[in-house]
């Protein structure tokens, strides 16, 4: 498998499936952040189909397979939103009942700019490092850091934390 991680994307379907499999958790997480839960697997599937169709264009020098696949997924999620008729925008349901503050946090996340939200989704929820986040977003690592900083400041403002101080 290690050999498959580098170079070009494998051509046989079985090998390509094995090649993408380690990246499925990250793809599913990003899809889980970008689209409704009911559409998560559809968007992952569309991204994989697109990756399969474009597998000959993969070039490791442009980034790791994970970066390539996440970038494709991001594109598919954007197209998914374009296809989906506009409807009421709802914050996601909180994932843990014991943390009612999560409701406020999800609502605040929904109020970020798309770019800030993408940076937060990739860095915190998909759990990428800054360098990989930058490659997926197509910008410099410094830009990611700045965007995350702005996002945190905006969230703190939305959640009313800016007037507080707290000692650790």
């Amino acid at each position: 498998m290690a050999a498959l991680e580098r170079g070009v994307a494998p051509q046989p379907a079985e090998e390509f499936a094995a090649w993408v499999e380690p990246h499925l958790p990250a793809l599913a997480r990003l899809a889980g952040r970008l689209v409704d839960p009911a559409d998560r697997d559809d968007v992952v599937q569309e991204a994989l189909l697109r990756a399969w169709q474009k597998r000959t264009t993969y070039d490791e020098s442009r980034g790791s397979p994970r970066v390539w696949l996440l970038a494709i997924l991001r594109d598919r999620a954007r197209r998914h939103h374009l296809r989906t008729p506009p409807g009421p925008t709802l914050a996601r349901e909180p994932v843990i009942e014991q943390h009612p503050s999560d409701i406020d946090l999800e609502r605040a996340l929904a109020a970020l700019s798309p770019r800030q939200r993408l940076a937060v989704d990739l860095y915190y929820f998909v759990d990428l490092d800054v360098a990989t986040t930058a490659l997926v977003m197509g910008c410099a690592p410094g830009t990611v850091k700045a965007t995350l900083s702005q996002a945190r400041a905006r969230l703190a403002e939305l959640l009313g934390l800016t007037g507080e101080t707290a000692d650790d």
Partner: protein
């Protein structure tokens, strides 16, 4: 005192952890009919992780009595005899040894190429270099270009930092903003060696978001470290707007220019001797009863070099105990039972020699959808293998697959049956808001046909009505009621194992499109 933004970092990190913990398993990919037909692969099919089989040994399970699933191995699988004990000559016997959590030694693998080597080379002079522009490519809505810098003459030299690049149009500066993106290659920092066989590159990226009037870049001027300029072919016409979805904005997407980077990079990392060890499960017994010991064999093979089992590693068996939970059983590997020894009498995985270990666990959960049982060697470069255990009742057999008749699909809109299209053509359906499209299918495998994907149809303003008394899963008898105007596409699919194309060795995961439907809902 904690700054609000720092506190947000902690809040986000904690919430993201909780969010990840509650996410369903990622879907698993099973290649179905992905042969490169003129129309491309029919689809990637995602199946729930618990029921999937990717790079896994598939074991059918028969039910021997009420509530007592038992496993049967397929004819092609490695099998032990019926005694449940796969121990045979050359198999290291099973011992439930406690885990020792040993510290497995690792060594540092430097990045390749190594920037420390490049740092020792003198700076490149313009006359030494041959500069060319490589053909561009595209991925995920971004166009990529690279300028290649190769050694023309002289000794190896180095390039580093931000390249000096200008974009021209007919000799004048093109009105295209430039942005500098820093490091291109993940994991590589520092100077870049240009030598025999080692090239440097300047990477350029242009996202398909140019929504201003089109511009052209016919030449790129690269100013080399000595101050001399070199001209190479430009990027051409500005890319499309918003990935082909024009907007009214006048947005000028910049061209990103990245620092000098090696053409190919392998990041530095740490690895252990187990990096080149493969693990494979075999020997699943013919009969396994849930709740009773399950014996199988794991084969470890060192591909290239001997691996000394000192310290002796642990391993973990990961067993699902419900749909959402797993239990991990960690043990010490029975290294003392390995007969291969090095000169110091330490147990050894000899290069190229499979060493088989008997493993024992037990199953406590085996739903119709199957479970995934994993064996993991607890070393820094994790080596693992997985088997998927299916109850036979939920897994169509090859003989059943061979007896499937062709499934006939019928689509009725407002009482009118739609004509059959040519086999490769989609069905184009026009209906008005309020109309109902009825989907039905006939044939002895028709119950396996389903509408896909339901989620997107719902999002597109189609209300799906399940057959009376049945859950909504897109089966024949489902009705689609148009609620709002729009266009969408969906498929009616069937498992490939039900396709009337003769016997198949297995039929998990893959699906075939029986009918593609292009639906347009008018007001």
């Amino acid at each position: 005192m904690t700054e609000p933004a720092d506190r947000m970092d902690a809040l986000l990190g904690e919430y993201a952890d909780r969010w990840r913990d509650t996410q369903p398993d990622p879907p698993v990919v099973a290649p179905s009919s992905w042969n490169d037909s003129p129309h491309g692969p029919s689809r990637w099919w995602l199946v729930p992780a618990a029921a999937a089989a990717v790079a896994a040994v598939i074991v059918g399970v028969a039910v021997s009595g009420p509530g007592t699933p038992q496993a049967t191995a397929p004819p092609a699988a490695h099998q032990s005899n019926a005694s449940q004990t796969p121990v045979a000559t050359g198999v290291v016997p099973w011992k439930p040894l406690p885990a020792t959590h040993p510290d497995i030694p690792t060594h540092k693998v430097p990045p390749s190429p190594d920037p420390a080597v490049a740092a020792q080379a003198p700076p490149c002079k313009a006359g030494q270099l041959k500069v060319t522009r490589e053909p561009g490519g595209a991925a995920a809505g971004t166009l990529y270009y690279s300028i290649l810098l190769q050694l023309r003459s002289g000794a190896a030299c180095r390039l580093e930092g931000r390249p000096d690049v200008r974009l021209l149009d007919h000799g004048r500066a093109a009105a295209i903003p430039l942005k500098y993106g820093g490091h291109w290659a993940d994991g590589y920092r520092g100077p870049v060696l240009v030598g025999n066989g080692e090239a440097a590159s300047i990477r350029l990226a242009w996202t398909e978001d140019w929504c201003a009037p089109p511009v052209t870049n016919d030449q790129i001027v690269v100013t080399l470290p000595s101050g001399r300029t070199v001209r190479v072919q430009g990027l051409g016409k500005s890319p499309i707007c918003n990935d082909g979805n024009p907007t009214a904005s006048n947005h000028k997407e910049p061209v990103w220019v990245y620092d000098y980077a090696p053409l190919h990079v392998q990041p530095g990392h740490r690895e252990s001797a187990y990096k080149q060890v493969d693990a494979q499960i075999s020997g699943m017994p013919r009969q396994v009863t849930v709740g009773k010991p399950l014996d199988f064999v794991v084969t470890l093979t060192a591909r290239n070099h001997d691996v000394t089992l000192d310290p002796c590693p642990d391993f973990t068996v990961v067993e699902p105990t419900s749909r959402d939970t797993v239990v991990k059983h960690r043990f010490g590997l029975n290294c003392s039972g390995v007969r291969h020894r090095d000169a110091s009498r330490r147990p050894l995985l000899p290069a190229g020699v499979p060493v088989r270990f008997a493993i024992q666990t037990s199953l406590h959960y085996l739903p119709p959808g199957g479970i995934k049982l994993s064996w993991v060697l607890d070393v820094p470069d994790i080596q693992s293998d997985t088997v998927v255990l299916f109850p036979a009742a939920s897994r169509p057999t090859p003989s059943a697959a061979a007896t499937c008749e062709p499934t006939k699909v019928s689509l009725v809109v407002a009482g009118r049956t739609l004509p059959e299209p040519l086999p490769t053509q989609p069905v184009k359906v026009k209906m008005h808001v309020g109309d109902v499209l009825e989907f039905d299918a006939t044939g002895n495998c028709a119950d396996q046909a389903t509408i896909y994907p339901i989620g997107r149809l719902k999002a597109a303003g189609i209300e799906l009505i399940a057959p009376a008394g049945k859950p909504l899963d897109g089966e024949p008898g489902t009705r689609l009621k148009a609620v709002s105007p729009g266009s969408m596409e969906f498929d009616i699919t069937q498992p490939t194992c039900a396709r009337p194309a003769g016997p198949r060795p297995d039929c998990h995961g893959g699906f075939v499109v029986l009918r593609r439907v292009k639906l347009r809902v008018l007001p």
